[in-house]
Structure formats: structure tokens, C-alpha cells
Symmetry: C2
Subunit: 213 residues, 2 copies
């Protein structure tokens, strides 16, 4: 798969590493590609390009910049029509400890309204960069990556992409359910940073066979 | 511990069963105690009383009625001063598929405002009655019970109570974090009822040792 990731921060480089290790072609898009510095663990196949060049041949575009910067990125780049755009953001307050919006809206829905021609999927917003960097295995469990979106083929594409990295794709319904996934990230941030669990945690759903089936 | 549970539905009887099995004294409070019918699996030590009688000697009171009924119950019963009150509700729309409030408020915070003398703890709202009924063990994992509250001694009491049943207490911060726990229940409901996972699921946080520690 040809994947563009806009951003060069910890989430961007973590995604780039996992997708490159899974054999995908990964292009990071930066406003200042010559100045971008990636972690030493980034596979050498990962290219850093100007944003328009990164987008050119990409089937899937990850928005891996802070939510507050997404509007500018969307305006500056494009065209977006027909692209699968993955929103990994969380709409956080400046101290990162609360959400700046929710209940009647979500970052994902606001992004989708900005690029009506694109097929927006919410994903990876509950996965810390530190978890992404170290990979999907938590003992015998794989880390869940929740994804939500309204376009069936885009959802399937992202599910396949997640599965290709060894993470566990968990379908969370339509894009509107970002209203639940973004608070889940906020809870994860609380546990990690305010309540002492650290960043090697990830939300999941345990399941057991029903006694009556 | 002397525990009153207001309500006689599936959550009420599930809590009663687990608390009674753990050796606590459990009183269910009902407006019509003579007409209450509990599942056959309810331990015989569980008493069904009128609400005022159930509350009388209780140190901890569970509100196990639908959120829409909580206001009436709070007005009709009491006194609430000094009691530990556990809010297990989710503020759902009539079709159970969405939340009726969130982001700037939560069911738990609204309940706390109604009974300012009580120490309110949010807990058990992400645990399905069907999970509660069958107990805490999901293979090698125990089901997490998230609890959130502003009073340290009340939080500790509820953590001990949860642990006594074999479920895993997970502290989720102050009562305000009910704003994250209620959407987590909504997501759990979506997965169970809309997305085919069924009701034997429960949210949890996976943890692994940090590579750098």
C-alpha cells in the first residue's frame, strides 16, 4: 500500500515504522522535509517529502499532526477527493488533560466536514506513540486499534492495514462513534499521565464465550 | 460491609449476587418489595426491603435504577448525608444507543449535585449485568471495574468492595472522569448490541513493562 503520513512527530514516526516493517511504501509529509529528524529506529525505506509530493501517489493519508493544526494542513494540501484519510488525532486542551470538544461532535466528524470528498476513518487515536514504537505484542495479547468510519471499503482497507502490522483491528462503527473513541483516549491519557500507569498501556475489550450459547 | 442496592433489575440482582457471595450483607431496596422477583441464582441471604429500610443500616448505597429514575429515588429516599453512594448508571437515550449528556457534564456529576452531603463514586457502569452475573473471570484475566470519585476514603471503600468480589478495581480519577467512563459504556454497548460482539465483553487496559524502565 502507498501510505502518506502528514507529520514528523512521535506518532508519525511510530506509524511509519510499523507500516514500513509490514512492507508498505511510506512517505512522511513535512512542511520542512530537509529539517525533519526521525528516530534512529525509523526504517531507511521511509521517505520524507514535501506534503504535496507525499500525497501524490498515496492511497491512504494519515493526519498525524495535532488536531489544532489539521485545518491548516487540509487547506494547504490536497486534492482530497477519493482519498482515504485517517484521523488519528485527539482534540485535547492545551494541557492535554481534557477534551476540547465532544458529545455532539468529535474531531473526526469536524475533519470529515472539512474534506467532504474524502473517506475519513478514525483510527489509532487510543494508541500511544510509545506503544506504537514498541509494537503490538503485550504478552499474549495484541494491542487493539479501534477504527470507525462510514465508508465500507475505506474501513476494510484500514482494517487490513492495521492487521498487516500485527495490531488487532477492532471495528467501532460509524464515524460518529469517534464521540466514544476520543473520550477513550482521554481516559487512557488520564491513566498514563495522571494516575501512574505510564504510557505502555492500551485499551482493549476482553471477551469470553457466552454461557448460554 | 452493609450494602443497600436500590433497584431490583438485572444490574441490581447481579451486584447483589456478587456482594453476597463475597460475604457482605446485602439489602435490595424496592418501592414494592413484596412484588420483587429476583433470579433463582440470587443467594438467599439477600433481603428485599422497602427503600427506607434498606438504606437504614447501609454504609454504601448503590443506585441501580435507570438514570431517568434516579432523581425520583433520591428525593423519595434518604437521608443521604455521609453515605457513600455508588452511581452505576449510564445516561442513555430511549433506544439505549447513545448518551443523553456528556462532555461538559455526566450522570455522576449531576447525581452528586442532587445529594451534596453524600460521597458519590462512579463504578460498575461499564460492566454488563450478564458479565456481573457470570462473575469476574475472563480466562486468565479478571474483568475491570472502573471507579471514579472525589472522596479518598469512599474511593478506597469501593475499591476494597470491588476487590472482595474478585473483579479488578481500576481507579479512573475524580468524579469528573465519569465524562470518560460513560462514553466507554456507550462504546461497549455499541460493540455488544450493534457490532455483533454480544454481552460477554468488558473494557480493560492492557499493560506491559516499559522497555526503558
Amino acid at each position: 500500500m502507498n501510505i502518506a503520513i502528514i507529520g514528523t512527530g512521535h506518532m508519525a514516526s511510530g506509524l511509519a515504522k510499523q507500516f514500513a516493517l509490514a512492507g508498505h511504501r511510506v512517505m512522511l509529509g513535512s512542511r520542512h522535509p530537509a529539517q525533519a529528524s526521525l528516530p534512529a529506529s525509523t526504517p531507511s525505506s521511509v521517505a520524507v517529502l514535501a506534503i504535496p509530493q507525499a500525497l501524490q501517489s498515496a492511497e491512504v493519508v494519515f493526519l498525524a499532526v495535532p488536531f489544532a493544526a489539521v485545518g491548516d494542513v487540509i487547506q494547504a494540501a490536497g486534492p482530497w477527493d477519493g482519498k482515504i484519510v485517517v484521523d488519528i488525532t485527539n482534540p485535547l486542551t492545551p494541557d492535554f488533560m481534557e477534551l476540547s470538544r465532544g458529545f455532539t461532535t468529535s474531531a473526526a466528524e469536524e475533519i470529515a466536514r472539512l474534506i467532504p470528498g474524502a473517506r475519513v476513518v478514525k483510527a489509532f487515536n487510543t494508541v500511544f506513540a510509545q506503544v506504537l514504537d514498541q509494537g503490538p505484542d503485550f504478552g499474549s495479547e495484541r494491542v487493539s486499534v479501534f477504527y470507525a468510519g462510514d465508508d465500507e471499503s475505506a474501513n476494510q482497507c484500514i482494517a487490513d492495514l492495521i492487521a498487516s502490522t500485527g495490531f488487532k483491528p477492532v471495528y467501532a462503527g460509524g464515524l460518529k462513534n469517534a464521540r466514544y473513541l476520543e473520550p477513550l483516549a482521554a481516559l487512557t491519557i488520564q491513566l498514563a499521565y495522571a494516575l501512574g500507569h505510564g504510557t505502555q498501556i492500551a485499551p482493549a475489550f476482553l471477551e469470553r464465550p457466552s454461557a448460554s450459547s
